[in-house]
Amino acid sequence: MNEKNIKVLIVDDFATMRKVVRNLLKQVGYEDIVEAEDGVMALKALKSQKIDVIVSDWNMPNMTGLELLKAVRADEELSKTPFLMVTAEALQDNVVAAVKAGVNNYIVKPFTAEVLNEKIKKIMENINK
């Protein structure tokens, strides 16, 4: 699957971080990008359009990335949506909690455009197997 054809949903409460992630994605060829400022808005976006992969921050008010992941996995219609967790929390317990909740992969801040692309590609390859 070509980067151009992958629709990415960026979820982050910090507008600046959404901009940073968008810029990184653009650098490696992604063009179809939508944004949500928290988990609640992300669920709305997921219900209203076809999203190929969610790139979500972990630490957010209202609904954390982990809670969003659980909500997505619990929703029959959305449950298979690939989910990449972006986190500053590389601590072992957090990684285990995300894996248990069904995350496809995670990426630890700070990261480069190349690493972000690799993670998304690996997720897309695995789900298309």
Partner: protein, 153 residues
């Protein structure tokens, strides 16, 4: 304060700014600070709890943070605005994340709160634990900033 705390924050700061803002900060000699006065024009502060408790602050001069965030966003930002404040919070969060991961290897398990950001000339930074904080000074070509950490086991 335990000297084991210095390297994780030094390494975290260099790593985050190199990767996200493409700058190579030069670290100066760490020293202890007794007053509450911030060393910069804008600061991010984050509370830390766990096997060590306290807080981490990053305090940037205006010229330094304008360069760092301009690089992060690929835009030329000329004054401290909402994007800069957001970015300072996020940079603080990321540095805390890398430092805490490094501290985990030393046997310290530390959780972080949500960062807050304070801007303005001569603002103050109050660490929850009180007492002197450790300052690690950094420089980039455009200005300076400090990591200001107060942690107690």
């Amino acid at each position: 304060m335990n000297v084991k705390f210095i390297n994780p924050f030094l390494e975290g700061t260099t790593n985050v700014l190199k990767t996200m803002a493409f700058v190579e900060p030069r670290a100066g000699k760490p020293y202890l600070k007794i007053d509450n006065l911030a060393k910069g024009d804008i600061s991010g502060i984050i509370g830390l709890t766990g096997s060590a408790t306290g807080s981490l602050a990053l305090s940037f001069t205006e010229t330094a943070i304008l360069k760092i965030v301009s690089n992060m966003l690929g835009e030329n930002i000329k004054s401290i605005n909402g994007d800069i404040k957001d970015a300072v919070g996020e940079i603080t969060n990321m540095i805390s994340g890398v430092a805490r991961k490094n501290l985990e290897a030393e046997g310290f398990y530390i959780q972080a709160a949500i960062p807050t950001v304070v801007a303005g000339k001569n603002h103050s930074i109050t660490h929850v634990m009180g007492g002197p904080s450790l300052i690690i000074p950094f420089e980039i070509d455009e200005g300076s900033f400090v990591v200001d950490v107060c942690l107690s086991e």
